[in-house]
């Protein structure tokens, strides 16, 4: 078992021929036209990406230090320092609940949906009749947008919906208000979101499992490991790159969650999330641009954790 893990193949280094010395001279082969081509190939998309993603990110940070309402031109009088953050942390009653909801969202996806997806992947990763059909069944929700997922699950949860009908709560006063009751609706929505997330994790994991060197498992079997031991001790550690991707995807999805709660009630009444607080404060009549931007900065800081984690891992292995 131990010898097996030391011989793990990992992601193929791919075309890694060690002909490094030629690298330097290659640039001298570039003509002026080649250099222009390269500059255009990279330059135009870079300018677009900077001006439509990174400039707005920077602008959100700057706006968070103002009390701008988005109507009159912005002046030095609008600068309020950290006041928005102060209000956010101490007075704004929806902020901590939203953070809490995002955390619950994350925990639910990480500890419930993700393990179910991994479990399905492990079950389906074998020669078996009908495995493609099972995979498709679990995967179909993933191709739907979270907005459509919201519509579909509304039909399960409303007073006339499937669950209430089956429970016999047909009149609207006895029906369980899954989507309206603020202590229930987050869980109801999380089940719907997990319905989609499980299939996503399953597919990512299946792809990873397929790339595990079969000789590793054979070696583990010879050493007398049973299926569970083989998975936990041999396969799971080799799957580290996939595990990183799955975790990063899950964290980012939990921070981005928006569509499904917006469909149900625009992210109010128990369904507040940081993402919906941003839009509800800024792109509505309230138009609290400065304040909403402070929430955006909090969301940015939280998102940077998985993003930096992911990029440092992938780019480090990239430089070989």
């Amino acid at each position: 078992m131990t010898t097996g893990s030391s011989a793990l193949p990992g992601p193929q280094p791919g075309g890694a021929d060690a002909s490094v010395p030629r690298r330097k001279s290659r640039y001298s082969l570039l003509t002026r036209r080649d250099k222009l081509t390269l500059a255009l190939m990279v330059g135009i998309p870079t300018i677009l990406c900077l001006s439509f993603i990174w400039l707005p990110t920077l602008a959100s940070i700057l706006l968070s230090f103002t009390n701008w309402r988005g109507i009159a031109p912005i002046t030095a009088n609008n600068i309020v320092g950290f006041k928005n953050y102060e209000v956010l942390f101490t007075q704004y009653t929806l902020f901590w609940p939203a953070v809490f909801h995002n955390v619950i969202w994350l925990i639910f996806l990480v500890f419930i949906a993700t393990p179910i997806g991994i479990f399905f992947a492990v079950l389906l990763d074998r020669e078996m009749r009908g495995t493609r059909i099972y995979q498709s069944a679990f995967y179909i929700p993933v191709v739907l947008s979270l907005a459509i997922v919201g519509f579909i699950w509304e039909q399960m949860y409303t007073s006339q919906g499937f669950i209430n009908s089956v429970l016999g709560h047909t009149s609207s006063d006895t029906a369980i208000d899954f989507l309206g009751n603020p202590s229930l609706n987050l869980w109801a929505v999380l089940i719907a979101a997990s319905w989609r997330h499980v299939g996503y994790v399953m597919v990512l994991y299946l792809a990873g499992l397929k790339s595990v060197d079969p000789t590793l498992r054979e070696a583990a079997a010879i050493d007398g490991a049973n299926a569970r031991q083989t998975f936990i001790r041999v396969v799971f550690p080799v799957m580290k790159p996939i595990n990183v991707v799955v975790i990063v995807v899950t964290v980012i999805e939990s921070l981005r969650a928006f569509d499904i709660v917006y469909i149900i009630n625009k992210g109010k009444n128990g369904l507040e999330l940081l993402s919906t607080l941003i839009t509800n404060n800024t792109l509505t009549e309230a138009s609290l641009v400065g304040f909403g931007s402070a929430i955006a900065v909090i969301l940015l800081l939280l998102s940077l954790v998985p993003i930096v984690f992911f990029l440092t891992r992938t780019m480090r292995s990239d430089t070989r």
């Binding site: 011989a7 791919g14 075309g15 002909s19 690298r23 082969l29 390269l38 190939m41 135009i44 998309p45 990406c49 001006s51 707005p56 990110t57 959100s60 706006l63 399905f120 099972y134 498709s136 069944a137 679990f138 995967y139 179909i140 929700p141 191709v143 739907l144 947008s145 907005a147 459509i148 519509f151 579909i152 039909q155 399960m156 006339q160 499937f162 319905w195 299939g199 597919v203 990512l204 792809a207 790339s211 054979e218 070696a219 079997a221 010879i222 991707v245 990063v248 980012i252 921070l255 569509d259 940081l274 941003i278 800024t282 792109l283 641009v289 900065v297 940015l300 998985p306 993003i307 780019m315």
Partner: protein, 305 residues
């Protein structure tokens, strides 16, 4: 490695020694479990389909959980005609098709440069594109909304002189946002293509453009097909950008239009179920037809090569 392959032939008998009965019983249990779970997973979709096929009168009289008296296509027909669904499907195509081509074209060029050249800025730029795609879009929406209402755009691309409320604006942001993901995937994919190929072309005096066009692009066809499938679905499913960057309800693509139509046209659950199903069908069909591409696209993003 060679020793373990030798050993594997020895391993065969030990598997066969296990009692066959037990294995068969395990298989039956596994299938029973998987069939149950698959049915549970498909149930919500089956349920809206069932609701969609029933007339509202029937469900009012007998409740939603009841055997059908009649099944009709009426809800689909009325959703299709009264809510003018074709218009929104058309909006989706107007946005998704140009964006799709732009994404694949630009990200393949970026991937080409990032994987074939080691300029100092390359890693930094790759990080910039990838991280941009990973950001929650809500972080940038407020300034973006301002830019869209400020930046002047000439007539053929915009009929109000702005990016706001324009197909072009929606194409642009989808293109920029999704290019990050595709660039990341394609540059990883291209790193697995043997360097000798492009080196040889260089030495033979081929231009950078020729190498991209004639050597790299043809070799990337499988990855491009996979990404096209995936990106079509991603953009078809976009809800957020269209919700805040398109003002007119009738310019919205289908996924975001459904939100407006919910109150305005669909008076009952059965009709809404029919509409939701109609919106869901294209992506489900794309998946069922191109599932291999789909899964490959996702796994390309998570594994290298």
């Amino acid at each position: 490695m060679s020793t373990s392959t030798n050993v594997s032939s020895v391993a065969q008998p030990t598997v066969a020694v296990q009692p066959r009965r037990r294995i068969r019983w395990q298989r039956v249990a596994l299938h029973a479990f998987l069939i149950t779970m698959a049915l549970v997973w498909l149930f919500p979709i089956a349920w809206i389909a069932y609701t969609a096929f029933r007339p509202i009168g029937d469900t009012i009289l007998h409740g939603y959980v009841s055997l059908p008296q009649t099944l009709t296509l009426d809800n689909f027909v009325s959703a299709w005609n009264e809510a003018e669904l074709p218009r929104y499907f058309l909006n989706t195509l107007i946005v998704v098709i140009p964006a799709l081509f732009a994404i694949l074209f630009v990200s393949s060029m970026l991937g080409f440069v990032f994987s074939r050249f080691s300029f100092k800025l390359n890693i930094l730029l790759l990080i910039m594109f990838t991280a941009g795609n990973l950001l929650p879009p809500q972080i940038i929406i407020v300034p973006l909304y301002r830019i869209y209402n400020w930046l002047p755009i000439p007539p053929p691309l915009s009929d109000n002189g702005l990016l706001y409320n324009q197909y072009f604006g929606l194409i642009l942001i989808n293109f920029i946002f999704q290019t990050g993901f595709c660039t990341f995937v394609l540059s990883n994919y291209m790193k697995t293509i043997n360097r000798e190929l492009t080196e040889a072309a260089f030495v033979d005096g081929a231009s950078v453009w020729m190498i991209y066009r004639k050597v790299i692009l043809p070799l990337c066809r499988p990855a491009l097909a996979a990404l096209a499938t995936l990106e079509f679905t991603f953009m078809y499913n976009d809800f957020f950008w269209a919700l805040f960057l398109i003002k007119d309800g009738n310019r919205r693509p289908i996924t975001s239009a459904l939100n407006n139509l919910q109150g305005a046209f669909f008076t009952d659950q059965n009709q809404l179920a029919a509409a939701a199903l109609l919106v869901a069908i294209p992506t489900i069909v794309v998946y069922l037809v191109l599932s291999k591409q789909f899964v490959r696209g996702l796994s390309l993003g998570s594994t290298k090569g």
